[in-house]
Each structure stands twice: as C-alpha cells, then as structure tokens.
Amino acid sequence: MANFWKLVQNENMKIYRRMRTWVMLGIVVLIPIVVTVAFLLLSDSKDANNWEMMQLETTILFSLITIFTVVVAADSVAGEFSTGTIKLLLIRPWSRSSILLSKFIALVLFSVLLSVVCFVLTWGVNTLVFGFSSDTSGLIPANSPLAGQSPWTYMGLDYLYEWIELIVIVAFAFMLSSAFRSSGLAIGLSIFLLFAGSMITGLLSVTNKPWVKYVLFSNLDLTAYLNGGNPVPNFKTTVGFSLSVLAVYFIVFNIVSWTIFRRRDVAA
C-alpha cells in the first residue's frame, strides 16, 4: 500500500489544478491592496494605524475565505459524484475512510494557505504604506482581556478564532457534500446557512431560553471575546464554553459525513 500522504497530494492536485482556485487566491491577494489604495484615495488624513487597517481588511477577507473554502469543501465529495469520477476513485486499494480523511486534510491545508496569504498581505501592505505602529489603543479595546498585550498576540488570536469559526463551517459544508450527489445543492445550502447564521444569532439574542447558548450560531463569533464581549450579548458565556460547544458540533458533523460516505452505495 502506498502511503497516505499521496492521497492528500491527489486531493491537492484536484484543488490547485483548477482555474477557480487561482481566481480565489487572486482575490485574496488583491483585496488588501485595493482596500488600502482606496483608503489613500478617499480619506483626507492619508494616515492610519497599520494594525487597525489590517484588522479591518481581515474581517472583510475572512468572510470571503470562508465562502471560498466552503465552495471547495462542498464540491469536494459531491463534485466527484456529479461528474462520476467517484467510481474510479473508490475502486482503489484504500478504505473509504482514508479517502474522506485525505479530502478533509486537503481542505484544512487550503484554508490554512488562504489564511496565511491573508495575514502576510494585510500586514505587509499596511505596514509598508502606513509604517509600523506601536500604538495599540485603537486596536485593542480597554475592556479586552488582552489589554496591554502586544498587537501580535491580539492579531494572532484574532486569526486563530476566525479560523476555528471557518473550520466548523467547512465541516458543515463537507457534511452536506457527503450527503448530496449534486455539488450545486451542497454549495448553495452551505452558503445559505452561512448567511442565515448571523440572522439566526440576531433572532436568538432576543430570547432568554437557556438552550440558546448551545446553538451553533450562538458560539461561532469567537472574536467577540477578544473585545471583552460575547457572541450573544445576553448570555455570559466564556471562550472555553464556546470552544467546547464548537468542538462537539465539529465532531458530530464529521461523524455524520463519515457515516454517510462509508455506507453509501455508489450508483451514479
């Protein structure tokens, strides 16, 4: 038997040999440049704090990165079914579990790549244009648990939390991908839930039912903790609590994907 890494290599090939992936990467590269240039052209002051600009651009970019990874995730399994390539993929001397795992690992690597590109560019472009600032008063609010810490720590945690949110949503898209034969349906449904999620959180925040804090969407916005708040303001949850809830959802989504994928009859 060949080694498992080769399966991941295959999945990577199927991601990076596609035009759409390079369009996505191109957009992730362009946005920080465009936003900074637009700021220079439109703002009167022509000066800004590099950290604050970085955070602003990161917030914009991460919702895009999430959509991009969701598209790739939703297409990952369902796409193989809709094109029929799943048949030639599954008749190899590998268990279905290994093949599914290799797909998920390739997705994680893709999301890490996009996040790293995002970090490097948003930091690089803004530091180049506005210079390196040591003033963090505009970046870290006074009531933040990280008040007084370095901007590196703050931005580092910001990225980590954004990425955890992303990977939970990706696990959800991946689950839909294993459940549906059509990649269009899997992509559409995942993105709908991604947007519906913030509306659901808004609706939930007006109730006081105790189960609300266990709902996925009440825990997704981890970055709220960085600024001394909560994802849903009227529930005083902690980071540890939200991380545990997300971990449970993450595991459940993956167990469902795995169960469906392993048992499914391939008749397409």
């Binding site: 060949a2 399966l7 048949k87 009859d265």
Partner: protein, 307 residues
C-alpha cells in the same frame, strides 16, 4: 479448469427495498480467461460489477478476489482489481497524464516508467498532456483502459468496454484483452449486451436475466465441436431446382430465397458439392449457418422485455 479462481461470487444478493435486483448470483472467474457477462438492459450487470468493486454493498452472499473478501478486506481485494465501471469518467480539468498520475499514486507498485509504457500501449502518447475535456469518447475509453491495467491487476473488469470505440479500436481492444489473458494470465471480466462482440472475445459467458444467472457456457469449446456437427449449409447455384433433383432429397434439401439449403456436416458438404459440379451445375458459393451467440441468447432469454 483446475486452477484456483481469481474471483468467486457466492450467492450474491442485492435487495433495494422489497425489490431483489440481484438474486443469488454465483460464479467463478479463472486466471487467463476472458469471461463474458451478458444480459439485456436492466438485468443487473452493472449492479453486480459495482458490488465486485465495492461501490455497492451486497445484501447477502460474498465476493472474494484473490482470496480476500470484498466485504471484510476491501483494500486487499481491490489491489488485485482494475476496472472501468460504465463510462470512464475522468477529471476533465486535468490532463490525461495527471489523471493517470492520480490513480498511480493510490497504488504503490506503479512507477513513472510504467505510466509511460501504458500510455504507449493504449496509443495516447501524442495527446496525453492535453486536458481530458478535449478528448473524444474513444480517447477517454483508452485512458480508462490505461488506468485499469496500470497496476497489472489479476482481475480486469470492464463494463461495456466497446462503447464509443470505432471498429478499429474495438478490434484493438479485443486483441489486447486476449493477449492480456493469454500472456499475463489476467482474468478478464467483460459485460456487454453486444452479443457478436462477446462471441469474438470471450472463452465463457454467463447470461444474466432479471438478476439471476440462467446459463453459464463455454464459447470456444462450442466453436470446436461445431465442426463435427451437422449444420445448415447454403449453396448458391445457377439452377436450384435442377440441383435439388440431383441430390434426390439428401439432407432434407429445400429452396430458400433462391438458395439451396440443406443439413450436412463438413464431409457431406464437400460430397454434395462434388455431385453438383459433376451434374454440370455451377456452384457460386457455399456457406454454413452457424448458430450465433445471438440466436442462442434469444433462445435462452426468450423475447422477454426488460423486467
């Protein structure tokens, strides 16, 4: 054949809901034989193949390949199998070569040299670095064959392999499959509804109808025994009535569509010919009406519609 079978299907049954799609199918496939799997559309050929390659689970029964059960030791069983299930669907955004590389990576035994060798074998050398979306159906079929034989499987499973191939391609494939079976001892399992194709290609055929095997017969053996058997012979002569008179009813001679038809074995045919010529009748041609597999197939399956 006293050899150990490469593949053994034992009472394989597939039920979906209350419908029994495949009903207790049992067969054995031996090294070096080309085994045909015949059946009308909807008889369950593809479902059986899907179960053999692990794409579908069986309801009961078992399939073992090279002694490994597809149910319990799938990777070990799959390592011995190369297959095309229905159309060879490839990644269209990759080149032919990248597609092969993809499958090669999943099997430790395949080297880059082996990929090149197989590409040459299926005659795709000139176009292998083109994207698959630019390939014709015939070229995709060739690429499908390449991915199926790359790792030198002990069992090669091809579902309707001649789909989309031109006559030259079909002939090439047929020769190649026979060569694989004879020289490398590969067991080749081919499904088709094209009876004449199967007749030329296979050593044995199983006939499947409504999910049940209704007959397994040897084809080559039959062709050999047919030489001794009496069969229908057609004589193309200038004066059929006169010829009939000459023969005086031998072999139940009769005139069909202006041709003289009678039942005779090889020696008798030669004898009839001699007598006709001696009587001054001009013989333009003689041919025998071998019962084709198609006739036999229709005989066995009846003229029933898809069930």
């Amino acid at each position: 054949m006293s050899q150990v079978p490469v593949a053994r299907l034992q009472d394989v049954t597939k039920r979906i809901g209350s419908r029994t799609i495949i009903d207790r199918v049992s067969l054995e496939i031996y090294p070096g034989e080309v085994f045909g799997f015949l059946g009308p559309n909807g008889s369950g050929k593809t479902t059986t193949i899907r179960m053999m390659v692990g794409l579908m689970a069986m309801t009961s029964g078992d399939i073992s390949i090279g002694g490994h059960s597809v149910r319990t030791h799938y990777p070990q069983a799959a390592a011995q199998v190369g297959a095309i299930v229905e159309n060879p669907e490839m990644y269209k955004y990759l080149t032919g070569y990248q597609n092969l590389l993809h499958y090669a990576r999943m099997n430790a035994s395949i080297t880059r040299e082996r990929i090149d060798e197989v590409v040459k074998l299926v005659g795709l050398s000139g176009r292998i670095h083109d994207k698959v979306k630019k390939y014709s159906l015939g070229m995709r079929q060739r690429l499908g064959v390449a991915q199926a034989v790359m790792h030198r499987p002990k069992l090669l499973i091809l579902d309707e392999p001649t789909n989309g191939l031109d006559p030259a391609g079909i002939r090439e494939l047929r020769d190649y499959l026979r060569q694989l079976a004879q020289e490398e001892g590969t067991a080749v399992f081919v499904s088709s509804h094209l009876l004449s194709e199967m007749e030329l290609m296979c050593d044995r055929v199983a006939i499947l109808q409504k999910g049940q095997i209704i007959d397994i017969r040897s084809i080559r053996g039959q062709a050999a025994s047919a030489q001794q058997q009496a069969e229908e012979a057609l004589f193309d002569v200038d004066r059929p009535e006169a010829a009939l008179g000459v023969l005086q009813g031998q072999g139940g001679g009769r005139i069909v569509d202006g041709l003289l038809e009678l039942t005779a074995d090889r020696n008798e045919i030669a004898e009839v010919n001699r007598r006709l010529v001696e009587a001054g009748i001009r013989v333009y041609g003689i041919r025998t009406k071998t019962k084709s597999l198609e006739d036999q197939f229709l005989e066995v399956t009846g003229s029933e519609t898809i069930g």
